[in-house]
Amino acid sequence: MESTQAPAATALRPLPLADEVSAPFWAAARQGRLDIQRCTACRHWIHAPALACPACGSEELAFEPVSGRGTLYSWTVLHHSPGPGFADMLPLIVGIVELAEQPHLLLCANLLQVEPSALRLGMPVRVCFEWLDSDHAVPQFVPAGDA
């Protein structure tokens, strides 16, 4: 999976603060991999990472790599800056991506390398990674073409 360099910003965007539950997700992102939490009992995929499986209640959860492919569930185009770190990035697209692994397994990210007018419900997208600073990489998505 490719790596995309963040545009130079005068202020930093908020950095994800890994916690006891989410740390493996962010550790994988730093390695350019999208890992999603999964229930070892019923095999249900879970995002955002949880303390127990919302499908079966099991607390036996682990992270597994996913394909990084999905489709566009919805989006919005930000015209108003949500904070000092975004002022130079407008208009900014926030997409809700439905990952290929499971219906309604949704994750939000910015959609890069695409114009708002080209967005369609259900369009295929694939993950890439963007470094917010030298320690924090976040998954982002780009159009996947006909793949």
């Binding site: 908020p14 955002a48 989006w75 919005t76 930000l78 015209h79 949500p82 904070g83 208009p91 910015n110």
Partner: protein, 394 residues
């Protein structure tokens, strides 16, 4: 249907001035609204033995703390200020929207804990902006949203409206009539924030916040307070105003997927769940409703509630409004006082107060003639959402 259906009533409505950044502290506005509700009912502070609110401050990503009386008004500080702390039997404070506190107040009266409760909501416009993510880190649920700029509530609603538009082929133009008619309703409401009409073109030209959410799709933040006085129907009949009977209510427990604040599909499920519980609690059917006061903190919730309530099928709520059926003279007048878009952000108190106004014939120029039943819904249908049926006393 409940045992206490129609046995609890709203007997008084009080509003403070609603404005942007007034010189007066929020506590002063809360006192004004509570005293106005008491005066409306013909009661005094001595008669109050319950006080409930949600003293939350929806500031996102800010570093400043919360000061009681300036940023929020808790029932404990307010009761001291009103001098009711010596005789109150109960105070309530909910983390959910204040309308959950309204339900607790009704149950407190039904159980005999209290006989007269004020439900109030005081909201303060924070310094700077409601949303300005200044923190270096995004923790807990924010860590999956704020790094992407997805920390602005209108942007959450934007993803809901966008999917709806794309699924059914709608655009913002289909919503313009509702927004313009809603402003006309506001101008008939003495508590309305706005004093100028709005054209459909004004809506289409409005400044975009998070496409397709413009500034006119969001309730305007105000400093102010609204208060409702609840008591038993029996007692209310001896008071100054005609009572509005609480026929039933319900609350939602359907969560959004972890990592997202809301999605269209979950909102539908949630609204339908809240509605089903509402019809069950009240014994009322959707076709018996004369006016709908549905939550419009973000305007797309209006058409989604009409669908969730079963007034129209999924996907047809916006067409219903586009065709004028929700206007004051339409099939089902919606947000007859202009809703929160018109009054400003009062977190659902607007929908409750307007329901009371309509079933007690106090709507003046915006009165739905002979309205017998009003439905009020608050929030977006997901967890913490609430819904109410108010009936005329007849």
């Amino acid at each position: 249907m409940w045992a206490f259906s129609n046995k609890i009533a709203v007997a008084g409505i009080g509003y403070s001035a609603l404005s942007r950044r007034p010189q007066r502290p929020l506590m002063s506005l809360a006192v004004e609204a509570c005293d106005a509700a008491l005066a409306d009912a013909g009661l005094t502070r001595k008669d109050v033995n319950g006080l409930v609110t949600s003293p939350a401050m929806p500031r996102y990503g800010g570093a400043r703390g919360t000061i009681d009386g300036i940023d929020v008004v808790t029932p404990w500080a307010l009761s001291e200020r009103l001098g009711t702390h010596r005789h109150l039997a109960w105070t309530g404070s909910t983390n959910a929207m204040v309308t959950q506190g309204f339900q607790e107040a009704a149950m407190a009266i039904a159980s005999g804990v209290c006989d007269t409760v004020i439900v109030y909501r005081a909201l303060h416009v924070p310094q700077g902006s409601y949303v300005n993510y200044e923190s270096k880190y995004a923790a807990a649920g924010d860590q999956f949203m704020a790094p992407y700029g997805f920390s602005v509530p209108p942007s959450w609603a934007g993803t809901v409206a966008r999917r709806y538009f794309e699924l059914y082929g709608y655009s913002r133009a289909d919503f313009a009539r509702y927004i313009a008619d809603n402003r006309a309703n506001t101008l008939k409401n003495p508590n309305g924030f706005w004093d100028k009409p709005l054209t459909r073109q004004d809506y289409l030209d409005a400044r975009m916040i998070a496409d397709p959410m413009s500034i006119l799709d969001c309730d305007i933040p105000v400093d102010g307070c609204a208060a409702l006085l609840l008591t038993s129907t029996e007692r209310a009949r001896d008071l100054r105003c005609k009572p509005a009977l609480l026929t039933g209510f319900s609350a939602g427990t359907h969560p959004a997927p972890a990592g997202l604040p809301m999605t269209l599909d979950d909102i539908w499920i949630g609204c339908e769940q809240v509605a089903q519980r509402l019809w069950q609690s009240s014994g009322v059917r959707p076709e018996e409703i004369d006016t709908a006061q549905v939550y419009d903190g973000f305007a797309p919730f209006v058409y989604l509630w009409l669908e969730g309530l079963g007034i129209v099928p999924r996907g047809e709520g916006l067409a219903f409004l586009r065709d004028g059926h929700g206007s004051l003279t339409g099939k089902l007048p919606v947000n007859t006082g202009g809703g929160a878009l018109g009054e400003g952000r009062l977190h659902g108190m607007t929908q409750l107060a307007e329901s009371v106004i309509q079933v007690t014939d106090r709507g003046g120029e915006r009165q739905v003639p002979g309205a017998r039943r009003a439905v009020a819904t608050i929030s977006n249908g997901l967890t913490k959402s609430t819904a109410f049926i108010f009936s005329r006393d007849e």
